[in-house]
Amino acid sequence: MSPVMPSDFDPRNAEPEDFVSPGLPVDEANTTGRFPDADPEQIPDPAVVEVPADLREQIQAIVDKYPDRDHKGSPKSAAIPVLWIIQRRYGWCTPEGIVQAACVMQVTPAYLESVASFYDLLRTSPQGEHQVLVCTNIACWMRGGDELLDSFCEKTGADREAAGHGGALSEDGNILVSGFECLGACDLAPMASVDERYFGPLENADAGTIVDQLEAGEEVLPGKALEKRGLAGGVAESTDPRVTEGQGPNQ
């Protein structure tokens, strides 16, 4: 293939290889030689791609929740929730899972890949059975978030440098440890999200306990779960007449 586009070049008739410039490095995540998303030929053919029936149903149910093209909407709206389904099912956004989702949604796999690669929580590589996200943002850092991340890395053998830059797997590959930006729980600082549930405030020693509990399949630190916490100001009876004599909710 010549590196210069011929004047009669028509992307619709081209082969995928025509999009790859010879000799240039290619970002695999975004350009695996596929066509741009509008190109109908690249949408996986339902006759060819096998999609488990329950998965198809789940995806279709999500797509149906959003306004369709007749209401100015688009099935693409379901992209993030559908990728969540794929990640929950296969552990991460696997290429096969993405093709299956693309097939049901009738969009290209490349489109879903580009969405997945944008968002921190969607993973385009294996992520282990358990995920530990340790907040190292301002409030948690002030209260020991970095040291907590150190402790998780020491306990699991995950690489500290990599854990601070997007995540690292434990030595046995079962636990993903990742430093994270503010998780919206600075009142628990320093805190961590363990398999999508919040825990804090954590001592460094809690890292060891959490990892042991995950490995034993036990409930993680029940005493430090966010859902068990009361309001910071405790139970407070209102005496303000504007509040007690008001109408509507919370009366």
Binding site: S77, G144, C186
Partner: protein, 477 residues
């Protein structure tokens, strides 16, 4: 609980968080037992949507997501046409320091849903979405359940309570990107794209989701709606100050004894919030600085502790109330390191669309790294400040400004501390060069060693304090 510093006992004014400690409140039955959905029933039957729009505007309710724009005005901007219109509730809550929406959704999801239904009814909207950050999995599950309950009770869906009004409500989970909180990026994310901000105008009220007129409001803003419709604008204005009416759920975090969400009337003093409710600094510590409105607000100092906490007072002090999140730093926190953390966050979250933000956040982080390593010169501090000036006002969305404002405030107000860190780190580096790599000054984690020749830096004090804190009680040697 007695306060050691002489502040009088301060109490919260709970409207949104009233009875929130009762776990029942998160269920439909519980919410209804406290008077929930009564206003909705009344509104659908006998209230003119125009009256609601007017009352919201009259109440002076200002957006609780950051910008503080009048909620009622925003509703009134939507065209009164039959075309498809949308409501998006912004539950992305990703700004460092903010965690109030989490508490509101977790403890009282139906208050939000009722607010969404009434707002949609007022604006003639038939499709509503709650865009919740993906990390809030627990809260999204709670919302999913609550929405299902509301459908079951006939508060959502077709022909709600026989009124002829239809509304679909979808809980949409994001997947980890701060920029999706910016309203136009949120729209892109909802449309299933990578979340990149759009050029404004057109504003979302004219052309938003799927190109239709769209109302975007924060969780707390919408949670206030049914209270205002039930009690009227004058009732709402009896709370707070003239320009900042109502109550506010304030997230206080960092170096305080009792971090958490406290609901107060706008206009209470910062001292009441930080010392009275949040318990003040840890024993033996002193507050040195605080962000009054999340990590994107310029920092204030203890000299400003007696200011009222309102939109206008914070603006006058050169900062902002923003989302209502106070992060407190004490004398164990190194301000240059705090500036670096702040810059790092915004560098990581910049979507990269505009050059001043993409390059500016990157450069600022790198230069602050040089500061804390002692590789910078005091002149570099001027360069940092001028980079911030060049970011402000030159970007598509305000993420760039959100870094520039706090960083530049720290460099200006704590310049001495920046210069000290440069000098002490540089001295350490020199000693290392002279004495070899085993010089005690080099190892940050060294225990029991003499303080480095440059003196003990605040960062070291912080580490020492932490080392003390991390020893389980009774196990200290």
């Amino acid at each position: 609980m007695s306060e050691s510093n002489g502040t009088s006992k301060v109490t919260e004014t709970r409207v949104l968080l009233r009875h929130a400690e009762d776990p029942k409140m998160a269920t439909l039955a519980g919410y209804e037992s406290y008077g929930g959905y009564q206003v909705l029933k009344k509104a659908l039957k006998e209230i003119d949507p125009e009256w609601i729009v007017n009352e919201l505007e009259e109440s002076g309710l200002r957006g609780r997501g950051g910008a503080g724009f009048s909620m009622g005005k925003k509703v009134s901007f939507l065209p009164r046409t039959e075309e498809a219109k949308y409501l998006c509730c912004n539950a992305d809550e990703s700004e460092p320091g903010a965690f109030k929406d989490r508490e509101l959704m977790q403890r009282n999801p139906h208050q939000l849903i009722e607010g969404i239904i009434i707002s949609s009814f007022a604006a003639g909207i038939e499709h509503a979405f709650i865009f919740i950050r993906g990390e809030y999995d627990d809260q999204a599950d709670i919302l999913d359940r609550a929405v299902e309950e509301a459908y079951g009770a006939g508060y959502l869906g077709k022909n709600i309570l026989g009124s002829g009004f239809d509304l679909e409500l979808v809980v949409h989970r994001g997947a980890g990107a701060y920029i999706c909180g910016e309203e136009t990026a949120l729209l892109d994310a909802l449309e299933g794209k990578r979340g990149n901000p759009r050029l404004k105008p057109p504003f979302p009220a004219v052309q938003g989701l799927y190109g239709g007129p769209t109302l975007i409001n924060n969780v707390e803003t919408l949670s206030n709606v049914s209270h205002i419709v039930a009690n009227g604008a004058d009732w709402f204005k009896s709370f707070g100050t003239e320009q900042s009416p109502g109550t506010k759920v304030v997230s206080v975090s960092g170096c305080v004894k009792r971090p958490g969400n406290y609901e107060v009337e706008l206009g209470v003093s910062l001292r009441d919030l930080i010392y009275g409710l949040a318990g003040g600094p840890l024993d033996g510590r002193e507050i040195t600085a605080f962000y009054p409105g999340g990590s994107s607000s310029p920092v204030l100092t203890p000299a400003e502790m007696d200011l009222p906490y309102s939109f206008e007072a914070m603006a006058e002090a050169g900062s902002m109330l923003g989302s209502g999140s106070i992060i407190v730093a004490d004398d164990s926190v190194s301000i240059p390191h705090m500036a670096l953390r702040t810059a790092k966050f915004y560098r990581h979250e910049s979507c990269g669309k505009c050059t001043p933000c993409r390059e500016g956040t990157n450069w600022t982080e790198k230069m602050l790294q040089r500061v804390v390593r002692g590789e910078a010169t005091p002149m570099d501090l001027d360069i940092i400040s001028s980079v911030q000036d060049n970011i402000m006002g030159h970007c598509l969305c305000v993420l760039g400004d959100a870094m520039a404002m706090p960083v530049s405030s720290m460099v200006t107000k704590f310049r001495d501390e920046f210069e000290e860190v440069i000098a002490s780190e540089a001295a350490k580096a020199w000693n290392t060069a002279l004495d070899g790599p085993d010089s005690p000054g080099r190892d940050e984690n060294a225990n029991g060693d003499e303080p480095g020749p440059g003196g003990t830096s605040p960062e070291e004090i912080r580490r020492e304090r932490l080392a003390g804190r991390a020893i389980p009680s009774g196990g200290a040697s």
